[in-house]
Symmetry: C2
Subunit: 362 residues, 2 copies
Amino acid sequence: METPCLVMDADLMEANLHTLQAAVNRAGKALRPHAKSHRCSRIAHRQVQVGAVGICVAKLREAEVLALSGITDILLTGPVADSTRLQRVPALLERAPHLMLVLDSHETARILHQSLAAHNRSLDILIDLDVGLHRTGIPPCDAVSFARALAAFPTLRLRGIQAYAGQVQHIRAFEERRTASLTCMKEAGQTFESLRRQYPACTIFTGGGTGTFDIDIEIPALTDLQAGSYALMDADYRTVQSRGCLTPTHTFTPPLRLLTTVIGTHHPSHVTVDAGLKTMYRDGASPVPAEPEWSHLSYEWFGDEYGRLLTPPGTRRPRCGDRISLYVSHCDPTVNLFDAFNMIRAGSPAETWPIDLRGCSQ
Amino acid sequence: METPCLVMDADLMEANLHTLQAAVNRAGKALRPHAKSHRCSRIAHRQVQVGAVGICVAKLREAEVLALSGITDILLTGPVADSTRLQRVPALLERAPHLMLVLDSHETARILHQSLAAHNRSLDILIDLDVGLHRTGIPPCDAVSFARALAAFPTLRLRGIQAYAGQVQHIRAFEERRTASLTCMKEAGQTFESLRRQYPACTIFTGGGTGTFDIDIEIPALTDLQAGSYALMDADYRTVQSRGCLTPTHTFTPPLRLLTTVIGTHHPSHVTVDAGLKTMYRDGASPVPAEPEWSHLSYEWFGDEYGRLLTPPGTRRPRCGDRISLYVSHCDPTVNLFDAFNMIRAGSPAETWPIDLRGCSQ
C-alpha cells in the first residue's frame, strides 16, 4: 500500500453495521443508512444485506451511481432544485424502482410531476421538514397545507416526512444533545401523526444521525434512522459522549484510518509525515494516531501535502520510513479525497473497495 | 454545466501566466511553476509554452502522470523517503529525461544511487534546504558537508539547492512578508554561492511562491521561482497585500471560481446553495461571491454538501435556481476535489480540461 491511503478494518466495519442494525431492530425501527459518508456502493450493499430497508444519498449523481450498482431502494435526502436535473428522475426510476425524493417547494413538485407524467411514471415522495437547521425544508406548521397542495400532482405519492437535525449531531455532552434532538423532533413527530391520519400512505418518518441514534430511535413516531458515519467513524465523533458515559463514545469502534509514512526526522520537536490537507479533510477534531505505541504523538497540520507528529521529549520517536495510521478528522469529506478503501481482514491487507461515488457532488 | 463545478476563465488564466512569466523574465530569472496547485497537465503545458523552464510537483505520482502527458522537465519538490518508491525513479527518467529530485538524507541518496546504477542511469539532484519551515530539508549550514558526502554517489549530479519558505507566503502585510522572506532566503543564498564555487554544475537556486514572487525575484542568487497559485488564485491570496498597496492583491486576477446553485430560499436571513465542504476545501479565507451583483452576500459553511449566503435586510435576494459563482477558499485542495475545469472563453462555456493529477497524493 502506497501512502497516504485509506485503510479500513473490514471486521470492525462489519461489527459497526451489525451493532446499529441490532439497536434499530430492538427499537422496532428501520435503518436507512446514509451513503454520503462512505460513498462506496459495496458498503451500501453490505448495509442492505445486514438489514437496511434502503440507502440515503444527498445528491442526484450519488443516486445514479448507486442505482447502477444495483441498489433499488434509494432516498435522495437533498431537494433537487433545478428543472434540468428533475428531467433525469424518470430514467433513474427505471433502475431504482423504489426511489424516493424529498420535496420542500411547490414549484419543484410541479416540474417533477410534469416530468413524471410525460414518462407515465409515479414516485414516492417525502416532505422535507426544517427542524431548526434552516438549510432545506419547510417549517412543520406548513406541512399539512403543503401536503394538500401536493394532491394536485397525481404522479407524486406522499409517503411521509424527513426531519434531519444536523445541528445537534455533534453536541459533545450527551444530555444536552438528547434534549436538543428531542425538542427538534417533537414537532416533526406531531406533524407526522397529523399527516398519517389524513393520508394512510404516510408511513415514513425518517431522520436522525450517528450522533443521536440512541436518542432518536426512542421517539415513538420515528420509523427510520438515517445514520451514516457509524460505519466508518472519525476523530470528531470520538469526542462525542455516549449515553451515561463521560468518556468518548465506544459504541462504534473506528474502522477507518489514514496510513501515512514518516518522511522527515531532522527536528527534535516533531517528525514530518506525508499526509496533509489533500489527504485528510481538516474539519473538527485533529487526526489521532491509531496505534497504541504512537498514542503519545499528536498530529498538527503542515500544509497541503504534509503533517507533523509532535514528539514529546523523552518519548519514543518514529524513524524515517515508519508507517503510522491516523483516525481522520471528519470521515465524510476525507473519504471523498480517495478512489478506494484498502480493506484489512484479520489484520492483513485484503482487496480494495472502490469509492465509486467519489466526486458525485452534483 | 451541472453545479457545483469548477469554472475557469481561460483568458484571465492566460493573462496570469504571462504576467508572472514577464516579471520573472524582466528580473533575469527562470520560472518553474508548481503543478500541485492546478493538478492539470494541460495548464502545465501552457506554462511551458509561455516560457517556463520546467514544472514542479510535490509527489512522485504527480510526476508520473505529468511525464505521461509529455512534460520532460520535472522537479519533484518533496523528498521521496521510501525505498519502494525510489525504485520507480529510473522508469520515470525514461519518460522525463530532465527529471530532478531533491535530497535531504544520506540514506535516501544511497538507495537512489543503487537504483540508478542498476539501470545505468544518472539523475540531476538538488539539496533541499530547510529555511525555517522545519518540514523537510537540512539546515543551510550542513549543505557543504552533505554535498561532499553526495560525491560518493556518481549517479547523482548535484545541480543546486531548493529553499521553500512556505511559512511566509501568506503573511498579510507586504513589508512584514518581505522582511521574513529575505531573512529566510539570505542564508540559502550564501550556501548556494559556496556550493557554486566548489561545484561548477551547481547553477540552480529554486524557491519562492505566489506570496513572495516579487520579493524573491529580487534576490540576486535565486535562479528560479516555484510559484503555483498565481495561475488560479483564491479568496485567501486576495487578502494578501501587494507591494506598496494596502488593498488586496490585484497582480493576478482570479480566474478560478466555483459555480453553485441556490436550492433553498425559505429563510429571510440567508439562501442555501449546493456547495459545501465536499466541493470547496475550507482552509483560510471564506469563499467570496465573484459577481459584482452579489457582492453584498457573504458565504458561510453549512455542512458537507451545502453553504449559505447571508442576505442583509433590504438587499436583493437570489431566487431558487439562481447560479452564483464563488472565489474558493484555498485553490490547491479545492481543485483536488474535482475531475475537470470547465473552461470559459470570452464569457462563454468552452471545453473541459481534465484535472488529471487529481488524487495523485502518493
